[in-house]
C-alpha cells in the first residue's frame, strides 16, 4: 500500500497538517488501515526531501497534541508532486505472484508425500480461508452499505481470498480426476526445451 501516494492525493486538494492527513487517510480507506502519526511525518519528510511537497508557514495553526504552543506544520503539494501522483495512478501495480507461492507449494508437496491426504490438506486451508472471509463479512454487517470506501476495501480482501478458495476447489477437482486416471507425481511428463524455457521465464518474472 502506498501511503506516500495517498498523502500526495490528499494534498492535491490543498495544504494540510500531519494529523489532518492521518484522519483523512483513515476515513477514506474505510478505517480499515490504521496509520500512526509517526508514519505520516516520516513519509512527509521523504516527500519533502524528494521535492514532492513543501512545508508551508501556517500562522495561527492549531497546536499539535503533546507539543503545547508549538505551531503545527502544514504541507503543500508541488508541481513535481502532482506529476508523480498522476503517473502513479496509471502505472499497474506489481501483481506478479510471490516466488514459490507458499500455498501452491504446500498443495504440490502434499500430493507427493506418502501417507498424506492432499484433499484433507486442501480442505484444511479452505476452511481457514472461509473463516477469514466470514470475519471480513462480519465487518460489512455493521455497515448498511453506505460507506463506499469501506465496502471497496473489504470487497478487495474478499475477492482476493475468494480467488484462493476457488483455486483450491479447482486444484482439488483436478487432482481427483488425475488420480482417478492413475496419475502419480512420479510420472510427470517431461516438457520440451522451448516450453521449459517459457515456463521458467514466467516463473521468475519478478
Amino acid at each position: 500500500m502506498s501511503v506516500r501516494h495517498a498523502l500526495l492525493a490528499l494534498l492535491s486538494e490543498g495544504p494540510k497538517y500531519g494529523l489532518q492527513l492521518r484522519e483523512e487517510f483513515e476515513a477514506r480507506t474505510g478505517e480499515v488501515w490504521p496509520l500512526n502519526v509517526g508514519q505520516v511525518y516520516t513519509t512527509l519528510q521523504r516527500l519533502e526531501r524528494d521535492g514532492l511537497v513543501v512545508e508551508q508557514d501556517a500562522p495561527g495553526a492549531p497546536s499539535a497534541p503533546g507539543a503545547p504552543g508549538a505551531p503545527q506544520k502544514a504541507y503543500r503539494i508541488t508541481e513535481a508532486g502532482s506529476a508523480e501522483l498522476t503517473e502513479w495512478l496509471r502505472v499497474p501495480p506489481d501483481l506478479s505472484s510471490p516466488p514459490r507461492d507458499e500455498l501452491v507449494m504446500k498443495v504440490l508437496i502434499a500430493s507427493t508425500v506418502p501417507g498424506t491426504d492432499v484433499h484433507e490438506i486442501i480442505q484444511a486451508h479452505r476452511t481457514y480461508l472461509v473463516q477469514l472471509m466470514q470475519e471480513w463479512t462480519r465487518l460489512k454487517e455493521d455497515d448498511d452499505g453506505t460507506d463506499v470506501a469501506f465496502a471497496l476495501v473489504v470487497d478487495a480482501e474478499l475477492f482476493r481470498l475468494d480467488s484462493v478458495v476457488r483455486w483450491l476447489d479447482a486444484a482439488d477437482a483436478r487432482l481427483r480426476r488425475a488420480m482417478a486416471d492413475g496419475w502419480t507425481p512420479a510420472r510427470a511428463p517431461q516438457a520440451t526445451m522451448p516450453a521449459l524455457a517459457r515456463r521458467r521465464r514466467m516463473g521468475v518474472r519478478q
Binding site: 480499515v32 488501515w33 490504521p34 484433499h119 480442505q123 484444511a124 479452505r126 476452511t127 480461508l129 472461509v130 473463516q131 477469514l132 472471509m133 466470514q134 470475519e135 471480513w136 463479512t137 462480519r138 465487518l139 460489512k140 454487517e141 455493521d142 452499505g145 470487497d155 474478499l158 475477492f159 481470498l161 475468494d162 478458495v165 476457488r166 476447489d169 482439488d172 477437482a173
Partner: protein, 238 residues
C-alpha cells in the same frame, strides 16, 4: 431447541450396481437466529440435504426434526402444514409464477393456508415493503429485474413469519452487488430469529453465514469455527 435438526441422515438412490450414496450420516443443528451455509462441489449432496431438510424428500435413515417434532412421525396433513407455515424456500431461478403479480406471488402461500384473500394481500404488501419493493407490488415477474425477482421470492419465503428459510444458490443468477443484497436480507431475517440453511458453492456468499459446513461425497467433512468477533481481524492487521 433447534428449529432444524438433522440426526444421522443418510440417503441412498438406486440399488445394487446403480446405488448412489448421496448423504452419509449427516448431523446438523440450526437454532433460531442462525444462518448455516452448506458448501461443496456439484454432486456432493448439498441440494439433497436441503430437500430432505425441507421435507420434500425422505431420508433413507436418520431423523429430521423441525421445531423439535420428528417429521417422519407426522401425518401427511401435519407435514403439509409444516411446509406451508414453517418452511420457506428460495431457489436459484426464483420460481415465481409468471401470471401473478409480485404481491399475488407473495400472498399465495398464505391463501393456500386458508387466510382470507384480503388479509393475505395486506400481509404480502407488507412483506414486499419490508424488502423495499412496495412500489413493485402490482408488477408481473417479467417486469422486474433479476435482483427484484429474487427479493420477491424471499418475501414469499418469509411471509407469515416462517421460522425456517431454506435457500439453494439464492443469488446464483445475480451479479455480486445484487447477490450481496440478497444475503444481507437473509441475514437480517436471521437476526430477527429465523433459522436459515443456504446451499452455495460461492465462498463470498457463504461467508455471510454464522457457520459454514463443507460436504464432500455426501459426508460432512469440516466446518468453520464459531464467530471470533471482528476484533481478531484488526489484531492480525496491525
Amino acid at each position: 431447541m433447534s428449529v432444524l435438526e438433522l440426526r444421522s441422515i443418510s440417503k441412498v438412490y438406486g440399488r445394487g450396481a446403480a446405488e448412489v450414496q448421496a448423504l452419509r450420516d449427516i448431523n446438523v443443528s440450526v437454532p433460531a437466529g442462525m444462518m448455516v451455509a452448506v458448501m461443496g462441489p456439484s454432486g456432493s449432496g448439498k441440494s439433497t440435504l436441503l430437500t430432505i431438510a425441507g421435507t420434500l424428500e425422505e431420508p433413507t435413515s436418520g431423523a429430521v426434526l423441525i421445531n423439535g417434532q420428528d417429521v417422519e412421525r407426522m401425518s401427511l396433513t401435519a407435514k403439509a402444514r409444516v411446509r406451508r407455515r414453517t418452511v420457506g424456500y428460495v431457489f436459484q431461478d426464483f420460481n415465481l409464477l409468471p401470471g401473478l403479480t409480485a404481491a399475488e406471488n407473495v400472498s399465495l402461500p398464505l391463501e393456500l393456508d386458508g387466510m382470507s384473500a384480503r388479509r393475505a394481500h395486506l400481509a404480502g404488501i407488507k412483506a414486499l415493503e419490508d424488502l423495499g419493493l412496495g412500489d413493485r407490488a402490482s408488477r408481473f415477474p417479467d417486469q422486474l429485474s433479476g435482483g427484484e425477482r429474487q427479493r420477491v421470492a424471499i418475501a414469499r419465503a418469509v411471509v407469515g413469519e416462517r421460522s425456517l428459510l431454506l435457500a439453494d444458490e439464492p443469488s446464483g443468477a445475480l451479479d455480486s452487488v445484487n447477490g450481496e443484497a440478497v444475503m444481507r436480507l437473509i441475514h437480517t431475517y436471521c437476526k430477527r430469529g429465523t433459522a436459515a440453511v443456504i446451499v452455495t458453492h460461492d465462498a463470498q456468499l457463504a461467508s455471510w453465514a454464522d457457520r459454514v459446513v463443507f460436504l464432500r461425497d455426501g459426508r460432512l467433512v469440516d466446518q468453520t469455527a464459531p464467530p471470533a468477533g471482528p476484533e481478531s481481524l484488526l489484531e492480525q492487521q496491525s
